[in-house]
Symmetry: C2
Subunit: 420 residues, 2 copies
């Protein structure tokens, strides 16, 4: 059985490498035609896809999935339209491949340029939502990367139906179907196998909860795009506009509490805290959001509950916010750099110099001024769809869209030069 | 003992993180002053450094190091001058930090920019040459990264003396000495410990032979800049100028056989092989370079010896070259992509279209036209000193200089925007 999976995965890896050789040098028009055809065929095949999804929904109910998870799993006409539209949107993006990043001449006459090329074969490991199957496949196709998809076991039938449809599209336009492959088994041994296939997979992208991403990162022998937690901070500087601060913090915390860009902790300058906190607590109490702080904060507003040391490092993903009072910008920066997960932080300040200093000193992927950390998103940044948000420091930081799914090569043109 | 090393390494890691917070935002002038002062103090202290090196040389002789390795280990006045000059050269390079890579406005008024920042804490693990201690420290200082250096046990005293001198320079200019730390023990357990310090080290750069780099890559829990073998190919197209081809191939193979950019395998179009091979073999035979090929090649020139399948994947680093005949550019590309280690390849051709096609299709970090693969070097590319040449696909590919030792952050300026 396990030998069987080993062999199966090896075949998938070999096919991916071969398909990559073709896809890497496919021209923009062909890749876009593949995406647009896939979108159309997904619309045409929606009855089959929904039928496959019904099997998954039954499997999920039998497994006792929560209503929230079942909702994430479900495909209907509207969601299938969104999937198709997503592929068309990716087709509209500029091709990230074959872009000249820099070029220069050397004194000996060599002409050197740095040109973008695809990363290679990408392994995507994700949880239940079946739309990730099409999104990830679309982003990889556009960026010239072959992809090996390993979805959640709950979405197995839906993903299979989507990939089958995309294969029809690849066939129609004349691209190898192995550009997009789905691991054809629910067996978890396949994931373990994937993570060791250093000769066939160039990068692993885990997409899902903390449990999944941590396990992948720990076990993978292949470099990964890290997407860990978003313990985001908003810092209210002494110079902040009070109304703006309350409105932005409320949005940063409450717009959607379950996303990685949600603010989990507030840092407030002591001089402005007595004005800000009561106004903010009024709004947060209305929506049953719990605020936690130290005695000094509780003394300002007794709706604040006692905080523990553990709170500072916690990504609540819930209607809870921790509040730290501080004496200075430097103290705020030190607190943020100590407890942040390096995802997104913001400063609210009318003093522009304070904002510049905070952005310079805070060591996170995204640092914002006078706006909501919930904007931390590839789409909101105008980068198109994203395959994840990287909290790692290597290769890509922040939203990972098609422009981050490439590497580069050097092209060097000479005329017989030899090295001394 | 092992607990002791664990604690020692933990302290080093914590100190590096703290120093990084200061160094990351140090201005260009201060970093350059540190480099120039270090160069001067190294010149001033050369008697002490050479005395320390003499201890290493004795240790090396007692250990039975080969004359070649002893030569790599030795420091003399000329080599110390080269080390000092190297630091001054790094000071002259543009600062890679705080460069705006891109900036744009969003329809909602958010102003977004992508700005370079240092990678963080870099761990460099290298073999005997003590000059790497100063080179790596200089490149990291310039790029705002704290560095933890783990040199070969043979160069322990020399490296200690160099780092002590650089600490004096850091003290003089007011930067934390922990910007540059040397692991203060020869115990190999320290390397194992380093490779697991995910909370304190952001990236590992192994610099040395295949044994070292493979072991580091296999054991490291921290992302690494891969620097594996250079199984480089030169392809002679049917349109090649014969004299140019012979001269470039001779240089690519023989200038220095022991470097990763040396050509190890020649691919020759069958139509031109009968003209090229005898001329090339004349030159190679003069310097006792062995050529290996299949029967078809031997039939053209019987100085060619029988090749084995293993030869195609072998990095000889010696006076040996394998020769593959092929029918077409496509066949040559397929052969190269199959056996190459992804480092550097070249095509010799007067047909420019063939060159463009080869460069497009060959999936290596560096692909050259009409020049010697021995030019694969950061200095020759005009990028300044390099810490290695990456054969990995993530983050950096090809020469890794100061511009590759950075990542980026997004700075987002708003005026109270909240997300819908």
């Amino acid at each position: 059985m396990s030998d069987n999976i080993k062999q199966q995965m090896l075949t998938i890896g070999q096919q991916a490498k071969q398909a990559y050789q073709v896809l890497a040098i496919a021209d923009t028009e062909l890749k876009n035609k593949g995406l647009i055809t896939a979108a159309q065929l997904i619309r045409d095949n929606q009855a089959d896809i929904i039928a496959a999804n019904k099997l998954d929904m039954q499997f999920g109910r039998d497994k006792g999935l929560t209503p929230a998870l079942l909702d994430r799993l479900e495909l209907n006409q509207q969601r299938i339209e969104a999937i198709a539209k997503g592929l068309e949107d990716v087709a509209q993006l500029p091709d990230p491949v074959n872009k000249i990043l820099a070029s220069w001449d050397r004194p000996n006459g060599l002409k050197i340029s740095r040109v973008t090329v695809p990363l290679g074969v990408i392994g995507v490991i994700y949880e239940s939502r079946p739309n990730v199957t099409a999104d990830a496949a679309g982003l990889c196709l556009k960026s010239g990367n072959a992809v090996i998809l390993r979805g959640g076991s709950e979405s197995f039938n839906s993903s299979t139906a989507l990939v089958k449809t995309m294969h029809d599209a690849l066939n129609q336009v004349g691209l190898p179907t192995a550009c997009i492959q789905l691991v054809p088994t629910r067996d978890r041994a396949a994931v373990g196998e994937m993570l060791t296939m250093v000769d066939y997979i160039d990068i692993i992208v885990p997409r899902g909860g903390k449990g999944l991403t941590e396990r992948v990162q720990e076990q993978s022998k292949i470099p990964t795009i890290q997407h860990l937690d978003g313990n985001c901070h908003t810092y209210i500087h002494a110079s902040a506009d009070v109304e703006k601060a309350v409105s932005v913090v409320y949005n940063a915390k409450m717009r959607r509490t379950g996303i990685c860009g949600a603010t989990e902790s507030l840092v407030v300058d002591k001089t402005i805290a007595p004005i800000i906190l009561p106004k903010l607590l009024d709004k947060l109490s209305d929506v049953d959001c719990v605020a936690k702080g130290e005695q000094e904060a509780i003394d300002i507003d007794n709706r604040i509950q006692q905080v523990n040391e553990d709170d500072w490092g916690t990504e609540y993903l819930d209607k809870v916010i921790s509040i730290k009072l501080c004496d200075s910008l430097n103290q705020a920066v030190t607190h943020v750099n100590k407890y942040s997960s390096g995802h997104t932080e913001a400063i609210i300040a009318e003093d522009k110099n304070a904002a510049v200093e905070f952005i310079r000193q805070v060591d996170s992927a995204i640092v914002m001024h006078n706006t909501s950390t919930q904007f931390a998103d590839g789409g909101e940044f105008g980068m198109g769809a994203e395959i994840g948000i990287s909290t790692g420091r290597l290769h890509a930081r922040g939203p990972v869209g098609v422009d981050q799914l490439v590497t580069y090569k050097y092209a060097v043109y000479g005329d017989g030069q030899v090295r001394n």
